[in-house]
């Protein structure tokens, strides 16, 4: 818990990171309150109000279906949060379990980490493309595919960190006092890893946004009928000169969100245990 508090304190000390935090809070509010905040139904189209310029009543203009861009952007925040947290969840849970168990039980670890090596050798984006074609486009599949990609890196990081902790006096003391494996892993080792995991989570969240947008762009991400920022860019990219707002708004939203998460992760990284600082990847 102490770790968590010191992490949050370090964020407060950085002005840019605070701004990032505020932006992310806004995104979360938009995601939760989308039905209340959006002025229009994000799927409702109007063939007679296509490609309308930003103005009243469409503050961000409309797309080629005549759908309200602002409303779609607000619902897009929902997808951003869902994809981000979903990928973080998959990556941390799967990667965390594999990494910690591998470090703790050496024989099992030998096998598991070899499997992680195999998966890591796969080119991430190409693998994601093949998997998405195989599984068909859906929100859950996108989360699973992106989460799996980062589960491998997470597993490797946790493997390293757990190994370091395993040799520590307090862990050995716990084992000597007869604590069970589960107790050692979850009561003694895991709490020490919370803050580096938090940093890792923020970077995964940021990467997942870009990865999901890239998949959407290639036509292999979320189903096209789902309003997400990536789909908005992908579907409307031919209008870059005809209706520039269709690319500028969703593009800026992605950049702001990813940038905020990166700032947050960067600020938190400086506050964590120096032994783990290098393990956590990021920008």
């Amino acid at each position: 818990m102490n770790g968590l508090i010191s992490v949050l304190r370090s964020v407060r000390e950085r002005r840019l990171a605070t701004i990032g935090l505020i932006w992310l809070a806004l995104v979360c509010i938009a995601a939760l309150g989308a039905p209340l905040l959006a002025p229009f139904d994000p799927l409702d189209f109007d063939p007679l109000a296509r490609l309308a310029e930003p103005g009243w009543p469409h503050l961000f203009g409309t797309d080629h279906f005549g759908r309200d861009t602002l409303s779609r952007a607000i619902y897009g925040a929902r997808m951003a949060v869902l994809i981000g947290t979903g990928s973080v969840f998959v990556a941390l849970v799967v990667g965390g379990i594999v990494g910690m168990l591998s470090a703790y039980f050496t024989k099992l670890g030998h096998l598991l980490m070899r499997a992680v090596d195999v998966l890591m050798a796969f080119p991430a984006l190409l693998l994601a493309l093949v998997l998405m074609t195989l599984l068909e486009r859906s929100v859950v599949n996108t989360i699973i595919v992106i989460g799996t990609v980062y589960a491998t890196t997470t597993a490797r990081i946790l493997f390293g960190m757990t190994l370091k902790l395993k040799g520590e006096v307090f862990v050995e003391a716990a084992i000597c006092s007869g604590a069970g494996h589960a107790s050692v892993l979850f009561r003694h080792i895991l709490p020490n890893l919370v803050s580096p995991l938090l940093v890792q989570a923020s970077f995964i969240f940021a990467f997942a946004q870009l990865q999901a947008a890239a998949l959407d762009f290639l036509g292999l991400g979320l189903p096209p009928e789902v309003p997400s920022w990536g789909n908005m860019l992908s579907e409307e990219r031919i209008y870059i000169t005809r209706a520039p707002w269709l690319l500028i708004f969703p593009g800026t939203l992605i950049i702001l969100t990813v940038f905020s998460m990166n700032l947050l992760g960067d600020a938190m990284r400086d506050s964590i245990d120096p032994r783990f600082r290098k393990d956590v990847k990021g920008v």
Partner: protein
Amino acid sequence: MLGYALDRLLTLVPTLLAASLLVFLFVRLIPGDPAAILLGDAATPEQVAALTRELGLDQPLWKQYFLWLGNILEGDFGTSIFFGKPVLAVIADSAETSILLAVTTMGWIVLIGVPIGILAAVRQGSWIDQATSGLAMLMASVPTFWLGLYFILVFAVGLGWFPSSGFPSITGEGGLLNLRYLVLPSLTLAAPNAALIIRLVRASMLDVSREDHVRTARAKGLHPLRVAIKHIFRNALIAVAGAFGFTFAALVSEAVVTETVFSLPGVGRLVVQSILRRDYPVIQGVILIVVVFYMFVNLLVDLAYARLDPRVSLK
């Protein structure tokens, strides 16, 4: 050293076998029928079935896997269903673009990332340090395709400085001047990756500068910049070299989005197009080769570490 290298090479074998099985399964489980795609709307079901037989795609999956694996061991990656050419020839055509794109991108990263990283480390904590790290992080937050679309609009359509798309081989007409086709794509690709290198250069420079031999050099009254370049940077390079290796390997595959935006005939776009055409032998071949490539880079980086840095023990 040699024993270590051989040992590492041997452990690659089971890993590669597992990878080949995964590649095959992933690709073959994709729904879709290449024969139907090839023949188009007017073909009858009998005609499609006949072509499927001719292509050998009606055999049981396990048989096809062992046939594929056996042929690869003899250096034959099969024939592209779509192009009717050997898979290796198709990949070799695309590899030129991908490798040159990765090289030029690495060029930008080194050219921009390393000096900025050094500068940021030397002036640690100053406004330059903060501004560059902030800017680098911002660049890493931009979707590459979005950046690429605007690059084309501004520098190709608007200003006409660079070609908008495509890449003619440097062995053909135009020669090395054709590299100008890669300027915009490589800049697009370098933007997010430079941030990583800037950070790394800065961090490892700071690490090294805390070490004893650097302190000694400083104490001897050497010029700070001289210390930075001669003592710190050389050691920091060891850490950075590894990152370069991985970034390079990653670039070859991660370039798929950039290749799509700029219509570059690279490996990434080849995979995307081959997935759409269900050209199984090509998808399998590319992914397997990239996997092997990645593993070898991995190995080389480890060996380089072992050589450059005596502190790494050869386990």
